[in-house]
Symmetry: C2
Subunit: 517 residues, 2 copies
């Protein structure tokens, strides 16, 4: 058996059966092996950033890694931004980077580069397969490393000769990841603090933001009167009617700081102590109040929901976790704005929907109206590198067919990985793309003032303006095989949204909205 | 003066007056400073790969660096593939990568990453500016490092606080680069070998492929009866009627090896000894025949045209360098194929055109029919990472307004950096994009067989097929503001090409052609 086939068989045996691929010559044996290993689904993408972002979305919804198949160092480079985001999502991802045959590297051919150096930035585990015989064991180790805990990006560099040579065999699947249990004494110590009457907060992130964690946290809050926060950019937040509602810390550091003001203890459940997204002149980077102690309840290597439940029991919390009331806004009328788009979304969001939110400035109108919609998952821009939303929607839709995915996408961000639309069309993924087009890098207009830059002139202003020429997303979507429309009013938008949600396969609705900034 | 303004003023004072930018929050002071420093032209792009590829195209046509302004590590990641290509082009490029304020880095905020590690892969010179006072001197050093010789990518990491703090001043421009003179004894020694009757070849690359170098090489060849070759993927090749025609070594290693067969001496003029682009099972990587000596006439740090002229004089070559006869094919008729597209191009290519060639498999029909067209420059995919052609066209058009740029682009490659079209529209660049759409990764179909992979099945084959759904490049172009058409016959294509060449600003012509493979 050649190395490529042993690699694929090991992956499949380890529960990894989706590969988002943008292959080149050095990956041809991997591609050819797809014919032999029918359990591996190959999903072709037209740009590597789509592959890496899709593995992120896939892992968020399944907890399991998919493979991103990339072509040498430059291919890894093209996928790097979304691997950065995946690293911040703290999800399991396996990237297989094809490389030149081992004996070819010393000739420094055109595509030669130092793959390890590039991978190091985003990948907690990197290995270069030496021989065909190692492909199986290396693949199993890559899956194990990706799963952790903690989950991470694992990068396997696969020389073409290891891929094409004979003598390989599949390896056994790695053991399932074992999450740690937080010691009872630590739980008791935190419980004692929560009951001592001081102002306490519990910051939830990562695995704490799915249903089990949220319910336990809500029980604790109800019992102890502490404040609950969610991290600003959750990997996956369960929300909607019947689920405990937890406010995300605001993106604006000044607002986040205000929310944390007066706390004496802040405990972290799979979250990091909050810091400002960017630095601003004269403003603090660290947002925890000076007098506030920070303690860790559980981290990425722990069984986080279990730790929260143990804490709830330790404080003798009642069993009722409460939940947001079911409530939907009415279908909006009048002008099409980010606000009315949000209302339409709230009016129509289907049960079990998955929202991939990269609407940026327009996004602030999306969360309120959907708070009482039927339960759904909300995925955000975890690593701050725009161009993540559409690929994450691809990955989520591949992971969970039968659930409607809604990509809330800003025009500026969409253009980084617009190639995602083609894969949505090719795979007929049930994705509704709501393209909020304000024809500006609106967030930068806001940031320009916040960093204290004075740019009253036309030349600087033009660098934040993507409306010259206007980008026609209906044309772009159609060009990539996705049906699209551009409603002119809130009513028309709502009708289009309803139609899209009811129609299998992808569609894009461009909402040209006024910019907030 | 704040650091950002001193940086810009130093760049402008050093002859760097174009910035291809995709900025974010950490670059806002750089952007704001564009209002103060009107000599710096800011060209907005929607994706970093466009910025980095454009600096490559700009440098190829001017010999001078432009700036690519990038946003933190992920922005550099998005630009990495085309910086890889620029490194292989051996052109001067300055990248300015904005970073968090220095005091903010330890907080590991969302966008924090190890920029130096990523840059190291592509950049021969990397510096992190420490304080505002250093921005001027660091900018001057970056320009000096980029210019070399040899020319290279220079990366300046600019923390936001160095950018926004006061106390900076512009620095003096660096001295002009000084190329080395090849010692007369070395020239004489090579001349002696060339005259000794053995079979000799001269492989031209880089700076040897512009007019001066070509003419000197042609004089040498005429005098000594040696064989001339051009490297497979030239940075910039001067060609056309009246210019000496030099065959490029074929991409296919087996053909290149055949061409070099029987040589006893191969001399390199700004080129590297030829190696196979990829490794193939059982085939050699190094393409120089066993019995052949390889010698270096001149490298990237030398005055290459002067070295060739000195060698021509040393062998007492005549002054006539010859040149390709003026000849154009007739306007083609009949079916629209890569071949008839090539004939139309040959029939109409304007004098002084700049061709950015990323037509890949279809491109083999483009060079023959244009060999006798009026003199023009031919730019190729130097580093092998597709997605370079359109950005290079952007950069070349910004560099040399008044010259028509023709981007010969394959469908698969075009999708990596399709955002280039928007910048062409915004800046009204005189670019004709000929989009050769065969709806396949055709080169991979060829490579699949060459690497010995057997993929007769549908699943592997589907991974090389980008025709499901068909990509509509006319829609994509219009969506990004570029007029576009899709002629159905060779006559119609020729008419559209003629119209595009005569019309200021960009346009795209999609030629749906049969795949060669």
């Amino acid at each position: 058996m050649i190395g490529a086939e042993a690699l694929l068989r090991t992956l499949v045996g380890s529960g990894v059966n989706v590969c988002f691929a943008n292959p080149g010559t050095s990956e041809m044996h991997f591609v050819a092996a797809l014919d032999a290993v029918s359990e591996m689904r190959g999903v072709l993408v037209l740009f590597e950033g789509v592959a890496t972002g899709a593995t992120d979305g896939y892992a968020r919804m399944t907890g399991a890694p998919a493979v991103a198949l990339l072509h040498l160092g430059p291919g890894l480079g093209n996928g790097l931004a979304n691997l950065h985001n995946a690293r911040r999502s703290r999800v399991p991802v396996v990237t297989v980077v094809g490389d030149h045959a081992s004996y070819h590297k010393r000739f420094d051919a055109q595509l030669e580069s130092d793959i390890e150096s590039v991978a190091r930035n985003v990948s907690g585990w990197i290995r270069r397969t030496a021989r065909a015989e190692d492909t199986g064991p290396d693949a199993a180790d890559a899956v194990a490393a990706a799963l952790g805990p903690p989950a991470q990006v694992a990068t396997l560099i696969l020389p073409a000769d290891a891929s094409w040579s004979d003598g390989a065999a599949p390896a056994a699947a790695p053991p399932r990841p074992r999450y740690g249990a937080v010691p009872a004494a630590e739980i008791e110590s935190i419980a004692a603090t929560l009951r001592n009457g001081q102002r306490c907060g519990l910051l939830l992130g990562g695995a704490a933001l799915q249903e089990r964690g949220l319910r336990a946290a809500a029980r604790i809050a109800a019992e102890c009167g502490i404040e609950l926060f969610a991290e600003t950019f959750p990997t996956r937040l369960a929300r909607g009617a019947g689920l405990p509602a937890v406010e995300r810390l605001p993106y604006l550091a000044e607002l986040a700081k205000g929310q944390l003001e007066g706390l004496q203890h802040l405990f972290l459940a799979d979250a990091r102590a909050p810091v400002s997204f960017f630095a601003y002149p004269g403003k603090p980077s660290y947002l925890v109040p000076d007098q506030c102690d920070v303690g860790v309840l559980a981290g990425g290597a722990d069984d986080v929901p279990a730790a929260l439940e143990a804490l709830a029991d330790a404080v003798d919390a009642g069993s009722d976790s409460g939940g947001a009331p079911a409530a939907r806004p009415r279908r909006p009328g009048g002008e099409l704005t980010a606000e009315t788009v949000g209302q339409a979304l709230g009016a129509l969001l289907p049960e079990d929907a998955i929202v991939s939110d990269e609407a940026n400035t327009s996004g602030i109108y999306m969360t309120g109206p959907t708070a009482g919609a039927p339960p759904h998952d909300w995925l955000t821009l975890t690593g701050g590198s725009i161009g993540q939303g559409l690929p994450v929607a691809v990955g989520a839709a591949v992971a969970q067919p039968g659930r409607r995915v809604i990509a809330l996408e800003a025009d500026g961000s969409a253009l980084y990985t617009i190639q995602s639309l083609w894969t949505m069309a090719r795979e007929q993924l049930d994705v509704t793309v709501v393209l909020l087009s304000n024809r500006r890098y609106a967030i930068l207009r806001m940031e320009l003032a916040r960093v204290g830059a004075t740019a009253s002139g036309e030349r600087a202003s033009a660098m934040l303006d993507i409306g010259d020429p206007d980008i026609d997303f209906v044309a772009l979507a159609r060009g990539l095989g996705v049906p699209a429309s551009r409603p002119g009013t809130a009513e028309e938008f709502t009708t289009e949204l309803e139609r899209s949600l009811a129609t299998p396969g992808p569609s894009l609705i461009e909402a040209v909205v006024p910019s907030i900034f």
